[in-house]
């Protein structure tokens, strides 16, 4: 029972991380229907920016955090301006391959600048944030993660439901041409959504970095883990990303704990195939009915 509880808590924590890293991915998809294969590298970029600002530039944590956010916002903006904008209206494979190419470029850059070693942040979260749930201890990082994900969930939920920009974004994702003819500034929407998505990505990169340490290979492999999560939750549902993340996280830790550790990393993909066959739009995704 003890073991089960520990696995349960671990699974939920890992799952929340997956969920929070999937949110940026869903943001991009929701507003521009682009499948971003460079997501893991964006996470890594954010984590490394923060690392440099904290350890090398010796900035206080909050200043470094704000600077990283601003930097990533700009980065997302630039990515859209220089790489994605020429591809508006192009075939899907070009967009997908462009993000794959970007992933390779970013990974190369990060390796060139920071190397492939594991770095860690200095400790800065107060220990009082830790939680003691019965016999299981939840580390401060995880409570922080939980708070951040709930915050994001609410903020983005409201953003997409209520604000004009959010509604524009949804309209662009649904049908570019129709949105354009109704007077939505499609290019601005794209730019903004990439900027916000990069911001969310780097934010989750920092959270991941606090927990697991900062390493390019780990972070970019999380970019691949995002796929089962978002498919399970529904590609365009932010709440779905969190719930999908938790389910995948639980699945991973339980397989790792009870079945075999080597199966742990593949189980999400088996689930992915099954979901795609049975319920391709996921738990909370928007169902497009098309019978061909």
């Amino acid at each position: 029972m003890e073991f089960f509880l520990q696995l349960l808590v671990n699974g939920v924590c890992v799952g929340l991380l997956y969920g929070i890293s999937a949110m940026g991915f869903v943001m991009i998809f929701k507003s521009s229907s682009v499948l971003n294969f460079a997501h893991g590298e964006l996470l890594a970029l954010g984590a490394f920016f923060f690392l440099s600002l904290v350890t090398w530039a010796q900035l206080p944590v909050y200043a470094a955090f704000i600077l990283t956010m601003a930097g990533c916002f700009m980065l997302g903006f630039l990515i859209e301006r220089f790489f994605l904008r020429p591809l508006i209206g192009e075939k899907l494979i070009f967009v997908i391959m462009l993000t794959v190419g970007l992933a390779a470029m970013f990974k190369g850059l990060i390796l060139l600048i920071w190397g492939g070693n594991l770095h860690t942040y200095p400790e800065f979260l107060p220990a009082s944030m830790g939680l003691q749930l019965g016999s299981v201890y939840v580390a401060p990082v995880y409570t922080a993660t939980m708070m951040i994900s709930v915050l994001f969930l609410v903020a983005f939920g409201l953003f997409f439901k209520k604000s004009a920009q959010g509604i524009y974004m949804r309209s662009v994702a649904d049908n570019q041409k129709a949105a354009l003819s109704l007077g939505v500034h499609v290019r601005r929407v794209f730019a903004l959504s990439w900027a916000i998505a990069a911001l969310v990505a780097c934010m989750s990169g920092i959270v991941l970095g606090i927990i697991n340490g900062v390493n390019v290979h780990d972070l970019s492999s999380i970019g691949m883990k995002v796929f089962p999560v978002v498919i399970l939750g529904g590609l365009d549902s932010i709440g779905g990303a969190i719930i999908g993340g938790i389910i995948i996280g639980l699945l991973e830790t339980f397989t790792g704990g009870y079945l075999s550790p080597s199966l742990r990393d593949v189980v999400p993909y088996f689930v992915l195939v099954i979901i795609l066959m049975v319920k391709p739009y996921g738990l909370f995704g928007l169902v497009e009915i098309e019978r061909v």
């Binding site: 020429p86 494979i93 190419g101 992933a103 390779a104 390796l111 060139l112 993909y269 992915l272």
Partner: protein
Amino acid sequence: MKMRKLSFHPCGNYRETYEQELNIFETDFGRLWLCVFLIALFGAAPFVLSPYLLYVLNTIGIASIAAIGLNILVGYTGQISLGHGAFFGVGAYAAAILATRWGVGFYIAIPAAGMITALIGMIFGIPSGRLKGLYLTIATLAGQFIIEYVLIQWESLTKGTMGITLPSPEMMGWQMSGDRMFFFLIFISLVLMTWFAVNIIRSKYGRAFIAIRDNDRAAEGMGIPIFKYKLLSFGISSFYAGFAGALWAYYMVSITTEPFNLGLSVEYIAMVIIGGMGNIPGAIFGATFITILNELLRFATGLLMNMGVATSLGLNMAPLREFVFGLAIVLFILIEPKGLAEIWRIIRSSFRLWPFSY
């Protein structure tokens, strides 16, 4: 015997029948140059080139076969697959297991490996019945990871991370070894496979593939059973991958699971895009480009390491390789999305139209 009149490039589109539309060679010169090229390739290349260059050429040949297969799926049928590298691995392992377990000769093992891979490819193509576009891409991505896992974990069959060592191919008591022998094996296969691919595109099947790519709803409406054709396309494409993988396994002598990762799949997609989607010679151009790029970058890395231009800098060359690879993909997509085949066409036509090129 009367000489047939040689045909030149017409100054307009004078095609009157569908047969003319389907001609592979527009002019007799195209056919002539291809013959000259093939004779030069088979007659001179293996005897003139150094072993290293021959090795590069052989690698290009193997990559070309796999890239042609992927181009049938991606470029002609419009189904994006991120599992081609894994299928290549399935082919390599199928050939290795056939050759070591059952002592099958290479002339059976290689096509058989292709068939086995085609079957597995069709299994992973089943999701295409319900999914399309990016959902299918993600499904093939899952296929890549699952196949990789099976190759590593099914130790009784694949010997896991130990790898398998293949016997050198033998036919009628005649040992085949060395780069030169493999050159003939690989390039004869490449010519046959190219011939097959070019012709299947001209057939009923090829036209169905193109119809599915251009508009699947219209294709269905015109009575093309698209699921059947999508599966067929997956099968053909995986056959090519498996065939190439089997050749590669024989050529490399020993194989492990390591090379057949997502990176390899991405490399094949890059070949198809850089070469030109929906273009068979384009796949060969793309394979050549990526292989040479890889070799050049490795050469540069080695050179910098040897010259001792700050060994710390030399150590940082591997990421540079990754960076340049990504940059090549991005630049091609942004600047010439139709790939090298289009560049080649532009060069040719500007020569032909000189001095009145427009």
